[in-house]
Amino acid sequence: MADNDHPQRYSEQKKVQIFDGEFLPHIDAMYNFAYRLTFDEDDAKDLVQETYLKAFRFINSFEEGTNAKAWLFRILKNSFINDYRKKSKEPNKVDYNEVETYYNSEDANAEITPDLRVEALQDMIGDEVTNALNSLAVDFRTVIILCDLEGFTYEEMAKILDIPIGTVRSRLHRARNLLKDKLKSYAQSMGY
């Protein structure tokens, strides 16, 4: 990721080369991330456009050959929080104190025998899985998208989300349990 204390000085030609070669290849992942945050195609398009324009404007803060995808995701996430989340009706606030203590709680010990079955999962279609993911509060949804769909490491997620790695892990743990509860409900409705 960029070191803001030591910005580069790229020529205009070099900026375009980095933009085309390192930023644009991630547009598919960026658009899907934006859509999964906003649930609106126009908002997702605007959010991605705004992110790329910011990325170009601040391209001197990006060190060529480093992790462009994580840098772009971080800009997109910040734009979403600043510009889109405020106007969203979704109740997104998560009680983080509850999340951080989760590993030590009795709830964590209670999940000894999960009664969701692998066979039930394998019979689920895309809509059911997508709906389960989309029904999570945005902060929980985000960590699952970053980790399980986009394959970011804990360290990359910590940088994208501006939170410590311990918080990434506990939020991810809680998010997965919530997702499992949703999938279990679908499985029960399918007769498992």
Partner: protein, 84 residues
Amino acid sequence: MENNDKTPCNEHVKCMELLELILDGEAKDGEKDYYFAHIEQCMPCYRAHNLESAIRTVLRNNVDKKEVPADLVHCIKSKIRETV
């Protein structure tokens, strides 16, 4: 297996933490060695491993993907050209 389905694992919380690290590709070699030896002996942890693996597979393969609007790249590049 020494520990069958009806016997709870007495290290389950530790195992579940390791399970997440392993499936997320963040476990160290020693943690992997301990964990994979353990799930060969412990049915509840073995079942949890299979379930968590299946959830990640289902997420990767079944969550709907959106097509990027055809004009998006063109729009972005036009706006950038205006600013340069």
